[in-house]
Symmetry: C2
Subunit: 363 residues, 2 copies
């Protein structure tokens, strides 16, 4: 079997994207939306990007069971057996553990990339080269590898990874993971050249991540170990087992539970034009601006005395605006949001307020 | 025949309400909208209000022919023969002339009130008493009577009428009509007690207004005089005559052509809680405010750090807004407008821009 046949991809696709409300909704989160107006959704673009590296039959989608039909509709190329449906939201550690046990049962020699479905990558050739380098590294080392993005600005919205000793090519030991810094610290990080954005994209072998889970979060490893022989290669048995077991797993991120604790953690520093599309402001920064410095997404806009705004509509609409500076104006599915970009961290609270006051359909 | 049977009402209903765009649209102007959320449109409320004073069979609606079906739908009580359909927009003088010739042909002893369809009147009992006083006056004097509203604020959006010698009850000779004043002058007007808002509501006999039109705008009078005997009592003949004649009339207001020139012009000063609903700001001023000083119309709104705004939606929508002060936020029929109240005089230009850039459906 050639090496490529042992390579797998796990696309994590269960988020609800509430920071892009009302454009992204609980019933149609942002990974399922043609966010950049390219004709492909973020999930589809993630799938397209990985096909050059990993065989189609080795690409798995992990999502919440409520999104099963969206995944099937958007990725008809993916076999049902490769869609892992979580019966509950338990953050990334149980999600990745399940995928690792599932893949290991199919192929004990498997290596895997784990990637969120909703990131944007602009330089796909560089992405491909970086991922190949990462696969080669984890296949020849007992290593947990995370991708660190070369920072282009003193971003305060991301965690950072400080690199330690250079091992090989673009790969170094991780010295520290940091929380989101304040602006002063972010400037220091940027100037140092030692700090990289934590992308949430990982590579490892199934064997290495299973070993790390056993050491770092033994409860989760034990839960997946408890499956009877043959469970992970029998779809009906696996579904029944997961329905019983998965909801009992603790909800914890892979970063917190494993990456910040294991001692074989490495970072590959990359610069393939990345955005996690985490916020409206990130989307604004990433998008082409018109002559007044506004961004418009899927809508016609006539703007007077307006700059620094992002206008986003799902559905056909003309927006006529006067006198707005640095606002988010988003209209979709019965909700209009008008909010200064500087207060976008309040959007989650707004969603909660809307749901409490006017019902779940506004979630 | 008792006096009431000679009283007629002409409701002018042909405006396009562009100052309330996008809520009011060329294909659905504001008089046809349930603007105040009462369950009745402004036209229906105008009709309801006059029924106590004038027999149903004497209430005429003058509108543009494109709005015929809207009028019939909203006022099924009105006989088709009482709906006068203008083949072209020619301002108020030709409209009123036609109605006067039409009514005079039915009833040479007729008196009439002429009123726009899109005003709001809050104290209907006082309105009724005022109109009865006005009818009694014009039926006993050779008089053109306009209603002057006691001003409650130094409004710069209205024309004013200065009263001269008191004649009888609330009725005085008109001393002058004024253009819209600046704020300084409006304050002087308000303090003087001599100046009243020009309401655009008129009373006169058919005989008196026809005489005045002959003197002040003889071309228009001659046009309507040119109808063959029996035209105005034969609907088919009248329609054919109007189709030929009306578009050739000069487009001019009754204020400019007659009221400011005739020498038998009187004003009845009234205070029945009036608004011409001329602008979003007027609607804001008239409407009840919530605790933050915002007005919401037909929509659910969650507002943070917002005050002095008017939110208006046609259709179901939740608006979530942060950090807006003194804005108009109006969403209807594929258009969202966000505009400071202080720049609402630009809305007409915005409609023109929208139409030029994106097509007539946005008009």
């Amino acid at each position: 079997m050639e090496q490529r046949a042992h390579r797998y991809c796990v696309i994590m696709c269960g988020g609800i994207g509430s920071r892009f409300w009302p454009y992204s909704r609980t019933r149609l989160p942002k990974q399922f939306i043609d966010f950049l107006g390219t004709g492909r959704t973020l999930l589809q673009m993630s799938f397209d990007r990985i096909r050059a590296i990993v065989p189609d039959s080795n690409i798995l989608i992990v999502t919440n069971e409520r999104y099963a039909s969206l995944v099937r509709e958007q990725l008809p190329e993916v076999d049902d057996a490769n869609i892992l449906l979580e019966p509950a939201r338990r953050n990334t550690a149980p999600c990745i553990a399940w995928a690792a046990w599932h893949i290991a049962a199919r192929d004990p020699e498997a290596s895997m990339i784990v990637t969120p479905a909703d990131h944007v990558i602009t330089r796909e050739a560089e992405f491909e080269a970086s991922i190949r380098e990462g696969f080669a590294f984890v296949e020849s080392h007992d290593a947990l590898l995370t991708l660190g993005i070369s920072p282009s600005r003193p971003e305060t919205g991301y965690g950072y990874i400080q690199i330690g000793d250079r091992i090989d090519g673009n790969i170094s030991k991780v010295k520290t993971f940091t929380e989101k810094p304040d602006l002063e610290l972010a400037k220091v990080f940027l100037a140092s050249g030692e700090f990289f954005w934590n992308s949430g994209i990982f590579l490892w072998t199934a064997k290495a991540i299973r070993k790390a889970l056993h050491v770092c979060v033994p409860d989760i490893a034990a839960a997946f170990d408890s499956a009877p022989e043959g469970t992970y290669t029998d779809p009906a048995a696996e579904t029944a087992f997961i329905a019983r077991t998965f909801p009992g797993c603790m909800s914890i991120s892979i970063d917190y539970s494993v990456m910040e604790k294991a001692d074989n953690v490495y970072v590959e520093t990359v610069s393939f034009g990345w955005s996690d599309l985490g916020t409206w402001s990130a989307l604004f920064d990433l998008s082409p601006k018109n002559i007044d410095g506004n961004v418009t997404q899927n809508c016609n806009v006539i703007a007077y005395n307006c700059s620094g705004n992002i206008f986003a509509v799902r559905g056909e609409k003309l927006i006529v605006a006067d006198g707005l500076e640095d606002y988010i104006i988003a209209d979709a599915d019965g909700v209009l949001l008008i909010c200064p970009k500087s207060r976008e961290q309040k959007i989650k609270q707004m969603v909660t307020d809307a749901k409490l006051k006017f019902g779940e359909k506004y979630e």
